[in-house]
Amino acid sequence: MNEYADLLIIGAGPAGMAAALAAAPSGARIVMLDDNPLAGGQIWRDGPQASLPARARQLRERLQSHTNIRHHRGTRVIANPGPKQLLVEDDDHGWLISYDKLILCTGARELLLPFPGWTLPGVTGAGGLQALIKAGLAVRDERVVIAGSGPLLLASAATAKKHGATVLRIAEQASFASVAGFAAQLPRWPAKWLQSFSLFNRHYRAATHVIAALGTERLEGVRLQQQGKIVELECDRLACGFGLIPNIQLGQALAYAIQGQALAVDTWQASNHPDHFAAGECTGFGGSELALVEGAIAGHAAVGDVAAARQLWPRRARWQGFANALNQAFALDPQLKSLAHPDTLVCRCEDVAYAALAGHTDWREAKLASRCGMGACQGRVCGGAVQHLFGWQPSAPRPPFSPARIETLMCLDDTPPA
C-alpha cells in the first residue's frame, strides 16, 4: 500500500491544520499525518476531561469537509528512504508516502531538566500533567505542585484545579521583574491579556525553582528554592516543565538548515530545500496564534498562491512580537544547570547519571561512552537537557526515527536501491 501526495503535512496541530485548509482550495491531493489519535496538536488535545475551544472544533469540521484532505491518525514517520519519500507506520500497517511538497508542522515538546527525584512516579511534565488530565487522569483531592517556566505552568494549574486538585504552588523560575514586565506588555495582544486574568493563581511565585522531588517508591513531596529560601511541601504530584523546545529531528534528518534550536525558514515558510516548508513551533516557539498564521502561509505558498500568503505577513509579524516578548521574559536562569547531582539520572531510557556525562566534550563522545540518548526516546528528552546543561547540539537522528515494527521496515524491500 503506497501513497502519493501533492502536499504532505507532518503534524495536525494548529499549524498543520491551517496549512491543509489554506492549500485545500487548490484541489491538491493533501495528506496530513499525526501520531496522536485526533487532530489538534498538544494545545487542542481532546479527551473525556477536555473542553475544546470553538475555534478548534470549527477547524476540525472544516478539515473533514474537504474531500482532498486525508488525515492519517496515530501515524508516525519512521524513515526517509529516498528523495521525497517517507516510510510511515500506524497501529496496524507500514507504508511509503511519496510527495511533491512537504510541510513540517512537528510542533514542540517540553524541556524536561533533570533534578534529584525527577524519575519518581508522580513527577510529570507541566504540559504532561495537563495532557494526562484531559485524557482522563483523575486528580480530585490530590495535592499538586507545578514548577518550571512559562505560561504553560498557569494553564496546567488551571486544568488541575478545574478537575478538583489542590494546587499548592506554581513555581516560576523567572524573576518577578521579568514576569511583571511581560504582563505589562500583554495589553498589546488583548485576547492574551484577557486570558491571563482567567489563569491568575494566588499560589504563583516568581524566582522559585524545584531543587528535588522527594520520596522513595513514588513522589511524597518537593523541595523548592523559593525567592532565596528553601521550602518543602508534601504533595502527590509534581508537574515540571522548563518551557518548550522545537521538534526538529525530522527536519534535521531531511537536512533542513537549523537556526538556533529551530528549523530555519524564509518569509514563505520555505526551508533551504526547494519544495520543503516548515511552520509552527518547530520553527521556534510562539503559541497557537503564530502557528495558525505560519501554517496558513506555508499552505498557500506550497500550492503557489503567493498573494494569499503575502497577505498574512502582517498578522504573523504581530504574533512574532508576542513570541519574542514571551521568550525574553522566561529565559532560563543559569542556576538551573546545577540542579542535577552526580548520581541524578539524565538519560531515563538507559539510566545514565550526570557524572557519566560531565567531562565529555560533545554529544557524540558522551553517547558512545555512556549510551546516553541511545534508548527508546532516542535522545528526545536527554538531548534537550544536555543542550541546556552542556551546550551540546544533538546530532541529526538516523532512521528508524521511532521504535518501529519489523513488518514496517520490510516495506523498504519494494524500493529500488538508490
Binding site: E110, L112, T119, P121, L129, L132, G136, P403
Partner: protein, 78 residues
C-alpha cells in the same frame, strides 16, 4: 464506556480515556521498570519520552497515545 483488562483486572473507563490515564485509574499508574530497576510512570503525556510504553493486545504501544477500547488487553512491565 469501554471495558479493558489491565494486568488481568477489568476496568471500565469513560469514552476517550487514554491508556496512560487508565494506568492510574486502575492501578498505581506505573507503566514499566527501568534498566536499573526503577519503577516509572508516564512523564511527557505527548508521545515523546516513551516512559509509558506498555503491551497492548500483544504489541508494544505508547499508553499516552492510545485510547482505551472495549476488550483491550493492557499489560504493564513489572
Amino acid at each position: 464506556m469501554p471495558e479493558l483488562m489491565l494486568d488481568g483486572h477489568a476496568l471500565r473507563v469513560a469514552e476517550g480515556t487514554s491508556v496512560a490515564a487508565a494506568l492510574a485509574l486502575g492501578g498505581n499508574g506505573c507503566s514499566r521498570t527501568s534498566v536499573s530497576g526503577q519503577r516509572r510512570a508516564p512523564l511527557c503525556g505527548m508521545g515523546i519520552c516513551q516512559e509509558c510504553r506498555v503491551t497492548i493486545d500483544g504489541r508494544r504501544r505508547l499508553a499516552c497515545q492510545t485510547l482505551c477500547r472495549d476488550g483491550m488487553q493492557v499489560e504493564t512491565q513489572p
